[in-house]
């Protein structure tokens, strides 16, 4: 398992190299830092100073190589917007994003799996119909609209929860639900399908015949066998969640990486964008690794090699 993990982690620098080269080129070619960072009143000396600092007088490949050299010694450069090491800027926000994504995942997984199981157990009856319809409805709701709706209902009208910002657990509820709503429908449907297949298996019949209670059969025998596709699916979604929480972060004023990245792209703050991509890549690879390990723990038949 250790070797497996190590081999996976090697992917990080390789993909990062490729991605950062593309990003660097695109960001530099479509916007000039001198225009975005120096006031319209700028003096020639200010332009010269910034040009020298960012090596803007060199050709694009040379600029990238200089940047790469710094990265390899651990220096991602100064953020142009914040005037601080880019990696610090990103790490500050990373905690908030991880918190939000984890909370959303927990809600989505628990609610989704339980709802999916209910659908499978009560197949073609009322609970199945209701939950499936709600799942489709949730999938069609744009997160923007849902977020604002939740704010209006729970924060403005009922005053049960705060409208926005990061703070205690109350602040996490609405944004996590909004983000979870994006995942929930798929988890419900996958769980439903997977459970239906599993419940048809021979060992379920045997378990029932043995006289085990319904919940014992479901939770201790059927569910673990049905979990594989669900775990795999969640692994795939983590990447989308990390990067895609931008809308939720904006609506709920959540200080996460998503908003930072979008703002940095608009500002052509190349060091922050690349540092941000690195951090998100690391999180995605580690999360996928954890998911694979979880899979192999759940299903001893899967060997990691």
């Amino acid at each position: 398992m250790f070797k497996f993990a190590l081999r996976r982690l090697v992917y990080i620098p390789v993909s990062l190299l490729f991605v950062s080269a593309v990003l660097f080129a695109v960001l530099r070619l479509t916007g000039n830092p001198i225009d975005t960072y120096l006031d319209i009143n700028r003096t020639d000396e200010q332009v010269a100073a910034l040009t020298k600092r960012l090596h803007l007088d060199q050709s694009l490949p040379v600029q990238f190589l200089i940047y790469l050299k710094d990265v390899l010694s651990g220096d991602f450069g100064q953020s142009l917007q914040f005037g601080e090491p880019a990696i610090n800027v990103v790490l500050e926000r990373a905690g908030a994003s991880i918190q939000l994504v984890t909370a959303a995942l927990v809600i989505a997984v628990i609610a989704g799996v339980l709802a999916g199981m209910a659908c499978a157990v009560f197949k073609d009856k009322l609970p199945d119909f209701l939950i499936s319809t709600l799942a489709v409805a949730a999938q069609s709701m744009p997160s923007f609209w849902l977020g604002i709706l939740l704010i209006q209902c729970f924060a403005v009208q009922l005053r049960w929860l705060p409208t926005s910002g990061r703070g205690g657990w109350e602040n996490l509820v609405l944004p996590a639900f909004t983000l979870a709503a994006y995942l929930l429908p798929n988890i419900i449907l996958i769980t439903r399908t997977s459970m239906l297949e599993t419940l048809r298996e021979q060992f379920v019949v045997t378990a029932n015949a043995k006289g085990l209670s319904g919940s014992q059969v479901l939770f201790r025998h059927a569910l673990p066998n049905a979990l594989n596709p669900i775990i795999s699916f969640i692994g795939l979604q983590i990447g989308r969640l990390m990067g895609g929480a931008i809308i939720t972060e904006t609506i709920f004023a959540w200080p996460g990486i998503g908003r930072l990245m979008i703002g940095s792209i608009f500002q052509r703050d190349v060091p922050v964008v690349i540092a941000g991509v690195l951090i998100v890549s690391v999180i995605i690879v580690v999360a996928n690794l954890a998911v694979d390990i979880l899979l192999s723990i759940n299903d001893p038949r899967i060997r990691l090699d």
């Binding site: 975005t36 604002i148 704010i151």
Partner: protein, 511 residues
């Protein structure tokens, strides 16, 4: 015997429980007996945040936060009038030296005295190219500062610079000893100034927490703590205001004004700013190289309808000139051209305008109030006079890149802030500013005259003539003075909308 023992045990249990309950009740009473004095906390919802608390960044969002902890020598009030701040008075000593007499007894947040050394330090820092101070242009003609005595400082300029005192309103005075102690990086996160609030905590992208400076020279603020939160989504900002989480919000989109007013818990406060939203033509190339064509387009736009429908009546229509009504240099004799699409078509035909040629209006999105909506309305009105107009919305980095190259297409939307002196806005139509493709020799001559004399009456006359030239030549279509729209909870007193978008909160109190 056993029963007695049982009773004793039971009694012990009961008395044990009673004792515990009493202890709990007492504990609660004691904890609540001396409640902390109710702290007044003012929470503000801001739309955008600067990236750091670095001074000199040329944006109003940054300046608004900077001026919570710093003061300039001269300050503006909410209406845009200039009043003394850290400098009590000033006079010209010859053509190129201004002497500033500083306020005595002002203390930095760390307790040390504010003196002329700090002013000299700040001025030197601003004009040093290494600092890359964004607002350098406000005092661009300054060559240095000399300390005369601890409360007097001379600022020298390269040439006559009549607007020095106005430009200084955007320069935050910083402490020499603080930079000596901590270097240049620390103040970007931990500002230390003379201002009404003291910085406590800065979380980029999230919030700025401050506490009142009880020794503030204008009088201690009426609230104990100030929290400025960034809430980028306008609907959430409004929700936070109505639910009571924040007491003041900035950047209220005009379409939610009715919702706020009807909530009965908050009111909308707006003020016209000195910012002029205009559509500038590329006068180098056909069709807009012909001044008759540019004049014709002015008749094609129904500015009253746009003001009432899109801006909901907030702001003002520019009277055929760049400067808003309250700006020094505004020409009261010029009026906006009336809406007359028939005349517009006629003038276009007389000028042999090519109606089959597409005309693109370039604009950013969300940079100015209702910018995209107004651009679309203008394009629609131009189509009503048979011009093939449409709108191209571009991202800010792309816009800035095109702008540097002066390739903005036939028409683009831009806003110029004049901050109550014509010099600040009119400069952008001169050659030296490198932003204008339109050139007019008389305009240039008058501009130089106006900034080379300290005689305000002569300056006024020059600017008014410049406005006449602009009205005749139409380098831009002059649309609107942009409004600055805030909303505040009904519990908030003494809060005023600022024409320059700076939050002035030291006199604000909460019921």
């Amino acid at each position: 015997m056993a029963e007695q023992q049982l009773d004793i045990a039971a009694n012990r249990r009961v008395s044990g429980r009673v004792a515990c309950s009493l202890a709990v009740v007492l504990g609660v009473l004691i904890m609540n007996a001396a409640p902390a004095a109710q702290q007044k906390v003012l929470t503000v919802g801001a739309a955008t945040f600067p990236s750091s608390l670095q001074t000199g960044v040329a944006s109003f969002t940054s300046e608004s936060l900077i001026l919570q902890t710093y003061d300039p020598l001269v300050m503006r009030d909410n209406e845009g009038n200039f009043i003394p701040a850290l400098a009590e008075s000033w006079e010209a000593k010859g053509d190129t030296v201004w002497r500033f007499h500083l306020r005595k007894g002002v203390k930095w947040h760390d307790g040390r005295e504010f003196t002329a050394e700090d002013v000299k330090f700040t001025i030197d820092r601003v004009i040093d190219p290494q600092t890359a101070y964004g607002y350098l242009g406000r005092i661009g003609q300054v060559s240095g500062a000399t300390v005369v005595d601890p409360y007097t400082v001379d600022i020298s300029t390269k040439a006559v610079f009549p607007i020095l005192s106005k430009g200084l309103a955007d320069i935050a005075i910083e402490a020499k000893h603080y930079y000596d102690e901590v270097g240049v990086e620390v103040p970007k996160r931990k500002p230390m100034g003379t201002g009404p609030f003291i910085a406590v905590n800065w979380i980029p992208g999230d919030r700025y927490e401050l506490t009142a400076n009880k020794n503030y020279w204008r009088g201690a603020p009426k609230v104990d703590k100030l929290v400025i939160r960034q809430i980028p989504e306008a609907a959430t900002r409004v929700a936070a205001l109505i639910s009571g989480e924040v007491q003041i919000i900035e950047e209220v989109p005009v379409d939610v004004i009715a919702e706020i007013e009807s909530s009965k818990r908050a009111k909308v406060i707006s003020i016209p700013t000195s910012a002029a939203m205009v559509l500038t033509y590329d006068t180098r190339r056909p069709p807009f190289d012909n001044p008759k064509v540019r004049e014709a387009l002015d008749y094609a736009i129904d500015k009253d309808t746009i003001l009432n429908e899109i801006l909901k009546g907030k702001g003002e229509i520019l009277q055929g000139q760049l400067l808003t009504a309250r700006t020094f240099g505004h020409n009261p004799n010029i009026k906006a051209r009336p809406f007359d699409p028939v005349k517009a078509k006629r003038l276009l035909k007389e000028a042999n305008f090519d109606f089959s040629r597409p005309v693109v209006i370039m604009t950013q999105s969300g940079k100015y109030v209702s910018d995209v909506d107004i651009s679309n309305a203008v394009a629609g009105m131009l189509r009503n006079v048979d011009i093939q107009a449409n709108v191209s919305v571009v991202e800010s980095a792309v816009y800035l890149k095109q702008w540097s190259a002066l390739e903005m297409g036939p028409i683009y939307m831009v806003g110029w802030y004049s901050l109550n002196d014509a010099d600040f806005a009119t400069i952008w139509y001169t050659e030296a500013a490198k932003r204008s493709v339109w050139k007019n020799a008389e305009y240039e001559k008058l501009f130089v005259e106006a900034r080379s004399t300290n005689d305000q009456a002569a300056r006024d006359k020059a600017y008014q003539r410049m406005m006449e030239i602009m009205h005749a030549e139409n380098p831009s279509m002059f649309l609107f003075g942009i409004p600055s729209v805030y909303a505040a909870s009904n519990k908030v007193k003494n809060f005023g909308a600022a024409a320059d978008k700076i939050l002035r909160l030291d006199a604000v109190s909460i019921d």
